[in-house]
């Protein structure tokens, strides 16, 4: 296939897709960069037609200097990390469980995947009103049944609640990927380990877990990309209060609530930098794991 002719033909045919993708990414990126150096307050009469004032790095300094910046970075990392830990650990356990032969396996597998198909807004609302409501929620009833004082989840355990909701959404994804990985494990390897005298836990740590290494890396990588930008779950539950204001949410507040597009854009650039730092770390782990 690698003749010069076929290669140039391939480039030509890929060009539309590449150009479209580049445009899709580059236009918003340049606009964000452009606005981040401008004073742009639409409510005060600033507009593109009248020209925007160049303010240099003022927006950047203000965004990072705000008292809510570092807490928002912290909240972001806390939520992403928490969800990753919960989904990977529970995902491995669930995958092992679902790998066992049992009656009704097919239906159970479909049910396990179901939460992934529920829209984030809907699932967050269901959790907030049906499960976590301090008066009528299922948890409140459960707590009262055991004679305990119901927890007002959204205010007293807000970050934990968000982590719980998001974990519930992403657990199916992790389980599914890890299940397929477990199914690809050669059963003779487990039998060999059994003959070699490895008890159940040793078989898990020496054989199953290393075999899952690659799949776990992929789960972490893909989930991180999506978790850094979770928004709907926070918007419909706490609205960013009680320590759940992530970087994404802070940018949203700056742009929409405060109507300060320049400041929000500067925050967007910080978010890009944060995502790249995280991505750099992840790529190094992935590179190590995928190289074998």
């Amino acid at each position: 296939m690698a003749t010069r002719h076929s290669r140039s033909a391939a480039r030509l045919m890929m060009a539309p897709a590449v150009i479209l993708l580049l445009g899709w990414m580059l236009v918003p990126l340049t606009m964000t960069l452009y606005f981040s150096f401008k004073r742009y307050l639409p409510m005060r009469g600033d507009s593109l037609e009248r020209g925007l004032d160049w303010v240099g790095f003022e927006n950047y300094a203000r965004f990072i200097g705000s008292s809510s910046f570092w807490p928002s970075v912290q909240a972001t990392l806390l939520i992403v990390g928490g969800v990753l830990v919960i989904t990977v650990i529970l995902g491995i356990l669930l995958a092992i469980l679902l790998d066992q032969p049992f009656w009704g396996q097919g239906i159970v597998r479909i049910l396990v995947i179901a939460p992934f198909f529920v829209m984030p807004t809907v699932s967050a609302l269901v959790w907030k009103n049906m499960m976590m409501d301090p008066v009528n929620g299922m948890f409140a009833h459960l707590w009262r049944f055991f004679g305990a004082e119901p927890v007002s989840w959204m205010s007293d355990a807000s970050v934990q609640s968000i982590i719980l909701i998001v974990s519930w959404q992403w657990l199916p994804f992790a389980t599914l990927i890890l299940l397929t990985a477990i199914q690809s494990l050669d059963s003779e390897q487990l039998e060999a380990a059994e003959m070699d005298g490895a008890p159940v836990l040793a078989r898990f740590f020496y054989i199953i877990l290393p075999h899952l290494g690659r799949a776990i890396t992929i789960v972490i990588l893909i989930q991180t990309i999506f978790l850094l930008s979770i928004f709907a779950e926070i918007f419909v539950t706490t609205g960013g209060s009680f320590g759940t204001r992530t970087l994404t949410y802070l940018i949203f507040q700056r742009v929409v609530d405060s109507q300060n597009i320049g400041l929000g854009s500067a925050g967007g650039v910080y978010a890009i930098i944060l995502a790249n730092i995280v991505a750099l770390f992840l790529m190094r782990i992935v590179g190590k794991n995928l190289d074998r």
């Binding site: 003779e188 390897q189 070699d196 490895a198 074998r292």
Partner: protein, 334 residues
Amino acid sequence: MGRITLEKVSKSFGQVDVIPPLDLTIEDGEFVVFVGPSGCGKSTLLRLIAGLEDVTSGEIRIDGTDATGVPPAKRGLAMVFQSYALYPHMSVRKNIAFPLRMAGMDAAEQERRVTAAAAVLNLTDYLDRRPGQLSGGQRQRVAIGRAIVREPAAFLFDEPLSNLDAALRVGMRLEISELHARLRTTMIYVTHDQVEAMTMADKIVVLRAGNIEQVGTPLQLYRSPRNLFVAGFIGSPKMNLIGGAIAARHGAETIGIRPEHISVSAESGDWHGTVGVSEHLGSDTFFHVTCDGIPDPVTVRVGGEVDLHYGDDIWLSPDTSHLHRFDGQGLRVA
């Protein structure tokens, strides 16, 4: 020590009886080969001995003690799998040391045993590689290394050579025989290849549908197969089995004559036929001869190179002292 006794051992998967109750004794230091066509239960039998499958009924004894309910790791047996079952994320050294590590042996002793095993198996230069970087034969040797470091009472081999190419298979066959000669440990070897069985075994167990058809040394099976199945299974090329009038003339329902026990003549003989396909191997030549009154072509072995061609008329004479006679049930008639 490794004397393994099976007493009325049977195995069923649900309604299907894979192995009807059978008795078998494997003496200490013996090289026993389980051979049979695929699906005959030979691997299942090996897994029953290993403890990877539970017996449905009966008793397995290793060195006189009942091992029926003992978990695989505690039976003192080591197994080499068809897929080698090496741990891909561990180096060769760690692979071989794994059973020792699981046994909680101290690091110096582990290292000593791994080095010794690697020297025996020519793996010293590969100890720090991963299984993925090794050839098929080397992987096979690592799997054997992992088995010998444990110094087991017996080795179990589950078709270990079937993933290797023909040339390598012959080499590994010799290496395993060599290993057995040196260690003098009981070995149980499962294969569907009768050549492997004939070349390696002290004792062959021929299985069909879970039943033991015959147990004996390779030459016992070759000289006096107990029934038609063993007669057809052992020996390469296959024994010629002839029924009908010709068999009746020799006082049997079916007669069997091996290709090497038929002499060829251009002028006279017992059976007249025409030469069909011939296979020239240099040392031997095999002719497939269509004979009058015999439905299937008769295979004949002639030593060296013989000037016979497709369509030639020849006469065949079986050596009556090597004629096998079978009755209506397919059993050998003395």
